[in-house]
C-alpha cells in the first residue's frame, strides 16, 4: 500500500491501473494461445515489469522477471522431456504460475502505488455508488493492516513453538486465522466508527484534494487493454 503523498513516480491513473489488472488477469488466464495471442500475451506480461521499472521498484521487477522466466522455461523445456505424474505436476505448476503471476504482480503494483485517497477519487470519477465505493475503499485500506496483524500473530506462533514441521499442519491455519479474524473485526469496527464520526457516508458529492486524471500514457495503456480484450473475445467466440 502506498502511504505517502509525496510527488510520486507513478505515471498512471488509478482507473488505468485497475483496468490493466483486470485485463491482464482475464486475458492471461482465460485466453488461448496461437495466432494474434502470441503477440498479446507477451505484451501483457511485460506491462507489470515495465511499470515496476518506471517506478523504481527494482527488487519487485527482478523477482517478477525471474519467477516468470522460470515458469516459462519450465513449460518450454521440462514438459516435453517428462512423462506421467511428473509431467502433470510440472504442467500444472508452471502453467498456473505463468498465467496467474502477471495478474498478481499487476494487482500488487496497483495496491502499492495507489493511496486510499486516490482510489476513492477514482471510484468517484467512475460514478460508482457509495454503497460500493465505501466498502471497496475500506477493503483497500485494510491490506496493510492485515499484513501487520499477520506478522504479529506469526511472532506469537513462533514463540509458542508452532512451526512448520511441528506436527499439526491443519491446526497451523486455524491458529493463524482465528486471532487474525478477531483482530480484523475489531479494527474494522473501530475504523468505521472513526470514519463515520468524520462524516463518511454523507449523501452529498464527496470532494477530493488529490489530483488524478487521464493522460497520454493512460490512453496508450487503455488502448492496449481494449485491443487485448477484443481479441480475447474474438478468440473465445468466433472460432467454434
Amino acid at each position: 500500500m502506498k502511504s505517502t503523498s509525496k510527488s510520486s513516480k507513478t505515471v498512471l491513473d488509478p482507473r488505468t491501473k485497475m483496468l490493466l489488472a483486470v485485463t491482464i488477469a482475464s486475458v492471461l488466464i482465460g485466453g488461448g494461445s496461437g495466432g494474434i495471442m502470441n503477440i498479446i500475451r507477451p505484451a501483457l506480461v511485460l506491462v507489470p515489469l515495465l511499470l515496476f521499472c518506471i517506478s523504481g521498484k527494482w527488487k519487485s521487477a527482478a523477482i517478477y522477471a525471474a519467477a516468470y522466466l522460470c515458469a516459462f522455461a519450465g513449460e518450454l523445456f521440462l514438459v516435453p522431456v517428462t512423462t506421467g505424474f511428473m509431467n502433470f505436476m510440472i504442467v500444472a505448476c508452471c502453467g498456473m504460475f505463468a498465467r496467474f503471476m502477471p495478474g498478481i504482480a499487476m494487482g500488487s503494483y496497483l495496491v502499492n502505488t495507489t493511496t486510499v485517497s486516490e482510489f476513492m477519487a477514482a471510484m468517484e470519477r467512475m460514478h460508482l455508488p457509495q454503497k460500493l465505493s465505501i466498502p471497496l475503499s475500506v477493503m483497500f485500506r485494510f491490506f496493510p493492516t492485515v499484513g501487520e496483524e499477520y506478522g504479529a500473530i506469526g511472532d506469537a506462533m513462533r514463540m509458542r513453538g508452532i512451526r512448520f514441521g511441528g506436527g499439526k499442519p491443519g491446526k497451523m491455519l486455524e491458529y493463524r486465522m482465528v486471532p487474525l479474524m478477531v483482530s480484523c473485526v475489531k479494527i474494522g469496527e473501530e475504523l468505521s466508527a472513526s470514519a463515520l464520526t468524520r462524516g463518511l457516508g454523507a449523501p452529498i458529492h464527496r470532494t477530493n484534494i488529490c489530483k488524478i486524471g487521464i493522460r497520454p500514457y493512460d490512453l496508450a495503456a487503455m488502448l492496449l487493454c481494449v485491443v487485448s480484450i477484443i481479441f480475447l473475445l474474438i478468440d473465445k467466440f468466433s472460432v467454434i
Partner: protein, 486 residues
C-alpha cells in the same frame, strides 16, 4: 451546549451492568470536563452518546434525551454531527482511514463535500495551529503513537467542531506523546471549544479540567471542580480506584530494593534495517537474574527491538544471552523466553483456556495445567473461550502459556496501557508472583506507577543505546522519576 436528560442505555446482548443509568448532565459552552472512574464504569459509553455513535452505530436500548447545540442526537444523522462534534479515540492504529497524513487531515472535509481550496486552507490553518507541519505528507506507518494521535486530533480539527470528545486518548502514548496531546487540548480550550475527555491517566489534565465527573456502575456518582479534585489527598484517589493525580506524588511511594546477586548479560546486540542507522546497538549490558526489570525510554528508542531480540524474534540477530550458566543464541531463545504481547489477542489460538495451556506444554499434563490456572485465578474459566474473557484475564492466560511452557524469562509489552488502578495492581501482583517463582521478568512500560509497584531494576534505552541500567532504590527512583517528569 450539551444536555443529557434521564438517560438510560444498555448495549444489545450485554448485561445491564455495562450500561448507563440515570444520567443527567449539562455541559456549558467552552467547558472542559474530565470523566473518570474504573474500567467498565460507563465513561466510554457516555462519550459515545455525545458523538452520536450511540444510537447510530452501537446498538442498544436508549431512553431519555441527548441534545447537542439544540439538535436531538437520535434524529441527527452522524454526518450532520460531524461538523459539531469531533472525536479522538483510544487506539491510534485503528482510527485512520487513509494511510498518508495529509489525506487524513482532508478526509472529514472531503466527506462533507467542501471544495478543494477550502479543504487545503483548512489543512493549512489546522497544521499551523496544532504544529503539525513536520508531519504532513508522511506515511502513518512511520509515525509513533504520539504522532498518530496528533494527526487524529488534526483530522478532527480541520472540521472545526465546537465540541471535542476524547476517549482515553493517552492509553498508548509515551510521556512525550502525552505532553503533545496536553498542549493540543490546551490550545482547543483557549479557542473556546467544549471538551469532554474520558481518561484513566489523570495527572496531565491538572489545570485543564474545569469539572471532573466520577462515574461508577453507569452513574455519575460525584462531581468536583477541577481545582477541588486535584487538591484531594492520595487516599481519595486510592479509594475510588483512580490513578495518581500528580506524578510528583509517586515520589512518596516506598521502594524496597532487593539485593541483586546473579547476573544475566546481553551481549553484542546490534540491529538495523538499513546500513545508515542502527536501531539498536548494545555491546553488553548486565541485568539481575530473577529480578523485575523495567525497560523505559521514549517511543522509537529501541525498547521493542530489545525485547524482540531477547525473545529470539528478530531476524539475523547475532546477540547472545548468558544466564544461569548457559549461553543462548537468538534461535534458542525462542524456547526460553516468552512475551506477553500488548495486544494479547494475537496469542490466543484455541477454543478454551485449558487448551491454551495444554498447547504450550511439551507434554500435555492436565493436572499441572489446572494448577497453573488456579495460581492465576483462571481455573473457574478453564472451559471458557479465551476471546470471551476480559482484557486482564486474557493477559493472565498468556502468562499461563509462558508458565506451562517452562520459560525462565517472561517479557511484558506495555501490560498496563489503558488500565485503571485496580487492574494495574493486579498485573503488578501477578508479576511479583512470577519473580517469587524464580522467573526473570522484563516489562516495557510507560507507566511509572506500575514500575514503583513491582519493579526492582531499570534499563533505560535511549536512541538504541543502553543509557542506564540501575537498581531501583531511592536513588534509582529519583533517576527514573526525572525521566518521567522530564
Amino acid at each position: 451546549m450539551i444536555n443529557l436528560k434521564d438517560i438510560q442505555f444498555f448495549y444489545t446482548g450485554a448485561s445491564e451492568a455495562s450500561g448507563l443509568k440515570q444520567i443527567n448532565l449539562h455541559i456549558k459552552r467552552g467547558e472542559t470536563v474530565l470523566l473518570c472512574g474504573e474500567s467498565g464504569c460507563g465513561k466510554t459509553t457516555l462519550t459515545r452518546l455525545i458523538n452520536g455513535l450511540i444510537p447510530h452505530f452501537y446498538e442498544g436500548t436508549l431512553t431519555g434525551e441527548v441534545m447537542i447545540c439544540g439538535k436531538r442526537i437520535s434524529d441527527t444523522p452522524l454526518y450532520d454531527l460531524a461538523k459539531t462534534v469531533g472525536s479522538v479515540f483510544q487506539n491510534p492504529r485503528s482510527q485512520f482511514f487513509n494511510v498518508d497524513t495529509t489525506s487524513e487531515l482532508a478526509f472529514g472535509c472531503e466527506n462533507l463535500g467542501m471544495n478543494e481550496e477550502e479543504v487545503l486552507s483548512r489543512i493549512d490553518r489546522t497544521a499551523e495551529a496544532l504544529s503539525l507541519n513536520p508531519l504532513l505528507g508522511r506515511s502513518i506507518f512511520e509515525l509513533s503513537g504520539g504522532e498518530k494521535q496528533k494527526i487524529a486530533c488534526g483530522s478532527v480539527g480541520t472540521l472545526g467542531p465546537d465540541i471535542i470528545v476524547l476517549d482515553e486518548p493517552t492509553s498508548n502514548l509515551d510521556i512525550l506523546g502525552i505532553n503533545d496531546l496536553k498542549s493540543i487540548i490546551s490550545k482547543w480550550k483557549i479557542q473556546g471549544k467544549t471538551i469532554l475527555i474520558a481518561e484513566h491517566r489523570l495527572y496531565f489534565m491538572q489545570g485543564l479540567a474545569d469539572r471532573v465527573l466520577y462515574m461508577k456502575n453507569g452513574e455519575i456518582r460525584e462531581e468536583y471542580t477541577g481545582v477541588q479534585f486535584y487538591e484531594k489527598p492520595s487516599s481519595f484517589f486510592r479509594e475510588r480506584g483512580l490513578r495518581i493525580s500528580a506524578l510528583a506524588k509517586l515520589g512518596k511511594k516506598k521502594v524496597c530494593p532487593v539485593p541483586e546477586q546473579k547476573v544475566l548479560t546481553v551481549e553484542n546486540l546490534e540491529f538495523s534495517y538499513s546500513k545508515a542507522k542502527k536501531l539498536i546497538d548494545i555491546p553488553r549490558v548486565e541485568l539481575p537474574e530473577a529480578g523485575i526489570i523495567a525497560i523505559i525510554g521514549h517511543n522509537g528508542a529501541g525498547k521493542t527491538t530489545f525485547v524482540r531480540s531477547l525473545c529470539g524474534l528478530l531476524k539475523k540477530d547475532k546477540s547472545i544471552l548468558k544466564y544461569n550458566e548457559s549461553t543462548l543464541k537468538a534461535r534458542k531463545r525462542l524456547d526460553s523466553c516468552y512475551m506477553v504481547m500488548q495486544d494479547v489477542n494475537h496469542q490466543l489460538f484455541t477454543e478454551s483456556v485449558l487448551d491454551e495451556v495444554l498447547l504450550s506444554m511439551k507434554k500435555e499434563d492436565r493436572e499441572n495445567a489446572e494448577k497453573i490456572l488456579d495460581s492465576l485465578e483462571l481455573l473457574a474459566f478453564k472451559d471458557h473461550h479465551p476471546m470471551a474473557l476480559s482484557g486482564g484475564q486474557k493477559q493472565r492466560v498468556a502468562v499461563a502459556q509462558a508458565l506451562a511452557s517452562g520459560r525462565d524469562i517472561i517479557v511484558f509489552d506495555e501490560p498496563t496501557s489503558g488500565l485503571d488502578l485496580r487492574h494495574m495492581e493486579k498485573v503488578a501482583e501477578c508479576i511479583r508472583q512470577l519473580r517469587q517463582q524464580g522467573k526473570t521478568v522484563f516489562i516495557v512500560t510507560h507507566d511509572p506507577e506500575l514500575i514503583l509497584s513491582c519493579c526492582t531494576h531499570i534499563l533505560h534505552i535511549k536512541k538504541g543505546r543502553a543509557e542506564g541500567s540501575y537498581l531501583l532504590n531511592e536513588a534509582g527512583k529519583k533517576r527514573m522519576m526525572d525521566f518521567f517528569c522530564l
